[in-house]
Symmetry: C4
Subunit: 279 residues, 4 copies
């Protein structure tokens, strides 16, 4: 929850203040119940979308699922309106990440009223799919995710270099494999060979395309053993960054003088300003 929504201005109407505390806050009992209810609604609405795609379920419960769909759309529309109205800065909420996600997840159902026809139905499904983004809200509720994000964010540059190296290797190995095996063995073009190289290096190994010649098998073996070693790199990167992020999170309270928060756990003096840290 953004801190700028915390401080509700005193001039606000009392009922808007109350709605704000329930919807945006999670400190009160009502606020907690609202959050849990919302979470379950999101999960259930996603499950409905998933079930609707199963042909046998659609044939038998299509009607009921459509009705449930509209109930969820109504609920989420109401929630959006309440959030917009009760927010101290409505436009800021509407333009925030979750404000946009909230809006996008209710639009597809309304669109399906105006766009009709066989072809159109498929398009609607594509938009309706965005509904599942609502599940992303769940991340918001779990504080522990911060440490993971810090570690991933710190590893970002290293992982970019790594992905770049992998892409280069995939282009080279894909091209080599296309020349060795050729279209008659399933490697119909360099992009298809690159797809095979990705399937192999990530150790997924579907087996829809496999080398058939001796030379192809030798090169594939080299790629696999190389992938084996390469797999170690992102793991090592994240391990190291997680270790650092975790160590930092074990730190003292922030320094009283300069506010530095990332103090190593054994610190007796702030490493930025030299302030002696209290007991």
């Amino acid at each position: 929850m953004d801190p700028k929504y915390r401080e509700v201005p005193a001039r606000r109407a009392k009922w808007r203040k109350r709605i704000y505390i329930v919807i945006f806050g999670s400190g009160t009992t009502a606020g907690k119940l609202f959050d849990i209810g919302l979470l379950w609604s999101i999960v259930l609405s996603v499950i409905c979308v998933l079930l609707e795609s199963v042909p046998s379920v659609h044939a038998q419960y299509g009607e009921e699922l459509l009705r449930a769909e509209w109930v969820f759309t109504a609920l989420f529309s109401l929630e959006y309106i309440l959030r917009f109205v009760s927010s101290p800065r409505p436009l800021l909420y509407a333009k925030s990440f979750f404000g946009l996600i909230d809006l996008i997840s209710i639009i597809p159902s309304f669109l399906s009223l105006y766009i009709v026809g066989a072809q159109g139905l498929l398009v609607i499904r594509v938009i309706r799919l965005l509904r599942v983004f609502r599940i992303l809200k769940m991340v918001q509720y779990i504080g522990e995710s911060q440490i993971l994000l810090t570690a991933l964010s710190a590893s970002r540059h290293k992982i970019t270099v790594f992905i770049g190296t992998i892409m280069t290797l995939i282009v080279i190995f894909g091209s080599a494999m296309y020349l060795i095996e050729g279209p008659q063995n399933g490697f119909t073009s360099i992009p298809v060979s690159m797809y095979w190289a990705i399937v192999t290096m990530t150790t997924v190994g579907y087996g829809d395309i496999t080398p058939l010649t001796a030379a192809g098998k030798i090169l594939a073996s080299i790629i696999m053993l190389m992938g084996y070693g390469i797999l170690a790199v992102p793991t090592g990167i994240v391990s190291v960054e997680l270790g650092k992020a975790s160590q930092r999170s074990f730190a003292h309270a922030a320094c009283r003088r300069c506010g530095e928060a990332l103090l190593p756990v054994q610190s007796r003096y702030c490493f930025r300003c030299g302030e002696k840290l209290g007991e």
Copy 2:
């Protein structure tokens, strides 16, 4: 072994005390022999259940396996009765985790006497299957597992956040793949597409469902490379927690003079200030 069973009340009959020491303790020679014998009985009884399911073995040795089954059931029943009788607090034992497992692993065989018929046989097998839970007892005997459990328990919250993120990605990628490939290419519904996404992201890659269109192969490649990076996260989490758990278990109390906390386990002098460490 729960410590509350250690202190045998003095008022107990001598033979119960002796049985208790043999069955629950592992300090005496008899106690050790009992434990090893029990362990092998569990392994053998599980192997019997496994072999019985092989058609060719069942046809030839069905009679013998049934007899062995009853011998093991008799042995384990006797063990359960002895445990119950000799325990200082029988009901507490019966309600403990391993007390319940002990009971559940002998019930199916007795049930098979009363529930008969073709359909019933299958049901009995389901219950008999629980017999394999007995193998869980083995964990109890190895002390080293504590450090692993500490590390996994400490990573619990982070792994939950991680699994949540993975589930969200699986729903999104599964839906996207369903829309791209469609039922005609094996992606018959969103749940089936999600199964494919799990098979792909975990790098299992059966190859029973594979993308056939160019767009599907591109999305699959992105999912695989993403899975590659994501695979690093749980490994990093467990590495860091294991490092901490291992460090903790290796560390003495801190040095009294200089406060150094990371002393190697065999230390008799602080490696920083030379202070003799106390007993």
Copy 3:
């Protein structure tokens, strides 16, 4: 960029100096634009080679791709000439790693003019393939790669020992599997069995060759579980080395007063004794 090219001799002609700064340097706006333009040209030219191999694209856009191919060849030839001319030591540039790569990536297109015929075309493609090495230049532009290379270089010896052990296991397991399953189950020779062992130990698992006998499945299970444990070794090696490389790059010189060596990179005061760190 090699530092020996930085110091442009004062006796050089002014225009050569200017070209040198733009092409080899990246400090000026023109230099940055040149680098970014070159990067995109490399990516686009590689994409053209990839697309040309797709039969349907080749049939429709073969003419355009050939023309694009020649435009890129002209551009890269011009770049090579300018680099050669403006370099303070042209021969040293020509013999450097990227000098050779620059040359190799333009040769295949010119060769295709003289070597003709069906068989010859295939050979040209092989040489043209080297064009993708140009993508390696991208690594040069990202400074973060240094830490990864340090870690990999430090792990080199350990990884060699590890690969040696893996190769030994692959020979032993491949031979054993050949004897157990035999040619009638797809394991046609020991090298093919070794290919299967590599596919299995690296957890790729195509499924093009799978054990069919009970003994083969048992051995395969042992190999897989062993591979599971072995997979941990390279990851552990790289994690440890990355941790060290990362720690080193983050550390100041040690504190002069108390000797603390693991100071965070932004430290201005020692976190142990409060000493102000020198410049």
Copy 4:
């Protein structure tokens, strides 16, 4: 090389001493050349065994390979005799690990002279297979392997607990899958289901057996996600132990007073005897 072979008794004949230094030692030029020559002979003899199994190679070069086989056998026999004769304690050498491997790797060729016939040939191949154990000698020559062995040896107990847990999960999941999918979907018995569970949990995923029912796919998804998390444990264990082994190897020279060699890198006092460590 075992240190007990280092000190050659003075009473030995001069030529035996010289042979000993060349064969067992690697300090002299002759000793180094012998080691490298032996290494290449082992690799070449293994390649010959591998090639002989390829039908097309056997048909064309069977004669030459058989001759090469006998040349290598003669060389290795000579080497064995020289090692035995020149060793200060011949029987101790013969009973040592590499003494036995040396003997085992030359026996199969001689055995093939007396055991003939179609069935017999296959048996000989099984014994000849042991020849590949000779490759294990290579490990001996690379000193870097010590740190890996220390780390693996320290993780031994934890990995045993881990493998035990995995085996339990495989029995439980294998049985559950057998009951859900049944023999008609390829899960013909519990052992076969366990094989499938191993293939799935280790993320190999051949795809020779795959779940076909909805319930089977759901259970398989759970197993895969669990395997994803479990994969992290051995990696974490090895990372931590490698980190420790590597830290230890970075230590000072051993303590002058008590000889303790595993001193932490920042030590100023020996943690065993309190001796102040020199500069």
